[in-house]
Symmetry: C2
């Protein structure tokens, strides 16, 4: 068993298969593997240090999760991003989270409240960007951020719905990572999250749903803007390389 591995996270590898699945998912969500990037097996074998089988299996699973795409006999690519997909994703996410949140507010008990407070506290002590790596979101912040939003809906009591929610959150996170890479003006998340938590704890359903929807919409707007900007840059660059016609 190869105890060493490039990633700091990886951790407990029960099987190579599970290990590479975790790593690749993280790499794609963080855009270390860029959207639409072709995933050649030789490259991947080298990158993750194993044979084709476990990698291929992981890719099949990621395809079901919508993070990679497979074309018959032509291999895998990281899933493409687009404005339409972004809007679709975020709209759907708002609806799903609304349901989960409503149920969670109905059912959440003291335990849930305590976990939520705890998650918020941990999040508030993280900085969004690690000064040493300003081109990407801090891994720790990202983890605590996800944990906070998970804590909000945790009491929902519908595992199926929560799984769906988690998957959509992950997809959205990829767009956020992409957005950060192109421009860095951040917004005050701590304040937004605090409001959200307070509304949830006071069981003000309407206000919580409103705030959560607005939170997502604000993310959508920001990400959509930088996506458009990135596209313009890419087009300009292409035009320079192959000028006029």
């Amino acid at each position: 068993m190869p105890s060493s591995s490039s990633s700091l996270v990886a951790a407990k590898a029960q099987t190579l298969n599970a290990s590479v699945l975790t790593q690749m998912r993280a790499d794609i969500v963080a855009c270390r593997l860029m959207p639409n990037e072709r995933l050649r097996f030789e490259t991947l074998r080298e990158r993750y240090g194993m044979g084709t089988s476990p990698i291929r299996e992981a890719l099949m699973r990621l395809e079901a999760e919508g993070l990679v795409e497979l074309e018959h006999n032509k291999g895998f690519r990281v899933a493409e991003v687009s404005h339409e997909n972004l809007v679709d994703l975020m709209r759907t996410r708002i609806e799903i989270e609304t349901i989960a949140l409503r149920w969670s507010l109905e059912k959440g008990g003291v335990e849930w409240e305590a976990d939520l407070l705890s998650a918020f506290h941990r999040l508030s002590r993280q900085t969004k960007i690690d000064p040493s790596k300003p081109e990407a979101i801090s891994e720790a912040w990202s983890r605590e951020h996800a944990a906070f939003h998970t804590a909000l809906v945790a009491a929902c009591g519908a595992p199926t719905l929560l799984t769906i929610r988690a998957r959509l959150f992950e997809q959205a996170d990829r767009y956020v990572a992409l957005s950060i890479m192109s421009d860095a003006p951040l917004r005050d998340d701590v304040g937004e999250h605090k409001q959200l938590m307070r509304a949830a704890l006071s069981r003000d359903v309407d206000r919580t749903l409103e705030l959560n929807g607005a939170h997502i919409t604000r993310t959508l707007d920001k990400v959509a803007a930088s996506l458009a900007a990135a596209k313009r840059v890419a087009q300009a660059r292409a035009a320079t390389r192959r000028p006029a016609k």
Copy 2:
């Protein structure tokens, strides 16, 4: 390339991988592979006539879809069924379908109306049980039934949501198949579907959502009942085999 294959469906196999994925999904949903059944590779290789690789890849994908479960180094099983999971699934399904249906009713045009009428007609000309195989639902009916419900939400305009809906529908279908196997009293689906279609075509949103929710709830009740009955039978049988203590 082995042109022959056991299943009548299977059809166009672009790769063995895609072919076995389709077949296994169908086999699990139709309960030809029973819930909680252990999936040994030797058996599967024999059944589908290929090596371990494509099968393993398909299984990984099915795990993401929630149709099989994997335990590290202990292999795959068909996903278990339970009353809790059934309730969870159906509740979630109602919420998801409600959103999709609302959007579809908002956006659907003439094309959508025509497709819906067409789908209903095809469904109404199918019988639910094939006389020659009374222990299972007719494959053709099942296909047209799925197509009808898909047609209802087809104009929804949110691909992500539709994918989620389709996956939940499939999972529910497995419970229905299971229910049919244990007892056969069927209900008048044609009437229910006709009502549903009429409400949708007249753009009566509230009534359509109401009918759709009731349709799912009715299925839930029926399936839950036969699930409980099957459980009692299984327990009685176990008690007989290993009497008292």
